[in-house]
């Protein structure tokens, strides 16, 4: 059995695993700190991870394939860590997260809308932009502020870094022929934000997660970002969010 401590969203977690090679996956997140909680997968966790991967493949039109145990272990650990994060004021969120001159911006949408594509346009065309995490960043609430954190789980394009920043904007993406931004009351997009939030299996942890989401939307601005499939959409979006600032 291999043991290591990794720091996720600023929280040290002990991982116990039968796969020593997992250390490579977490190499940028290794910590010497005392862990606040431990995770160790069991057969049911791996089975659940496999079923989730197959569902995702089906949803995204990919052929059925067998997954290696190490892939299942990585995914199962992700879920176990996400399950325990709310007790430490953090949660997992499905969005493409970037930092623009130190401001955290989350691009959230229904799958297939183009979050990663749009985030890529910012990286390529807007100076001062970098990836935090292109798929499922951790969000942590501290002193009434919401911070977005990178993690080693970076989605199919593997884009992200071990970095964090304060979230300033949450952009809900919709495809359109013309790019525009509109600041909205968070309540207008609240159900969609909830739908992109990882939901623990335990009702009490889910209640805590939902109150953390409330803290996040209270401390950030929300926008509906209609965007075209064109690199200039990032410039238009940036100008819209930072108009008069």
């Amino acid at each position: 059995m291999t043991e290591l401590v990794v720091k996720m969203a600023g929280i040290p977690v002990r991982i116990q695993t039968e796969y020593p090679i997992i250390k490579d996956f977490f190499k940028e997140y290794i910590s010497e700190e005392n862990p606040l909680f431990s995770v160790k997968t069991c057969f049911e966790d791996l089975k659940r991870a496999e079923e989730a991967l197959h569902r995702l493949d089906e949803d995204e039109g990919r052929c059925y394939r067998e997954y290696e145990e190490i892939e299942l272990e990585r995914n199962a650990l992700h879920e176990l860590i996400a399950e325990n994060m709310p007790e430490h004021n953090a949660f997992l969120f499905h969005a493409s997260a970037i930092s623009y001159k130190g401001d955290g911006i989350l691009f959230a949408a229904v799958s297939g809308t183009g979050k990663s594509t749009h985030a890529g346009y910012w990286i390529d065309n807007v100076e001062g932009t970098s990836y935090i995490n292109d798929d499922k960043p951790f969000i942590r609430i501290e002193n009434d502020k919401a911070y977005v954190y990178g993690s080693p789980w970076m989605g199919k394009h593997n884009r992200g870094t071990n970095d964090f920043t304060e979230i300033k904007s949450i952009c809900i993406l919709e495809r359109d022929e013309r790019t525009s931004t509109k600041e909205v009351n968070p309540m207008e997009v609240y159900p969609l934000i909830i739908q992109q939030t990882y939901r623990p299996k335990d009702p009490k942890k889910l209640e805590k997660t939902l109150s953390l989401v409330d803290d996040m939307v209270k401390s950030t601005k929300c926008y509906i970002l209609k965007c075209e499939k064109n690199p200039k959409a990032a410039i238009v979006a940036r100008d819209g969010i930072y108009e008069n600032k």
Partner: protein
Amino acid sequence: MKINKDFVIHKSEKETLLVPVGNAGWAGVVRLNDTAADIVEMLTNGDEDFNVIVDKLKDKYDVAEEVLKKDAEEFIESLRQIDAIID
């Protein structure tokens, strides 16, 4: 009948939502208007009979009984379809 314990009622600033836990069969979110929120609260607080629910709604809302009954029936049926109600 009562609300499945795998569904959590969450009240934020202006919204009341019914949200299932991660491994519930259904992964959506139910937005509750005032009447729906009252029904869900009654079903959460106790094992309520349909007629008791309608009587309590009649006390609160100035709406004809037939309308309340129809709305309550439709809403409860929609909750059953997502397994949010246990008998």
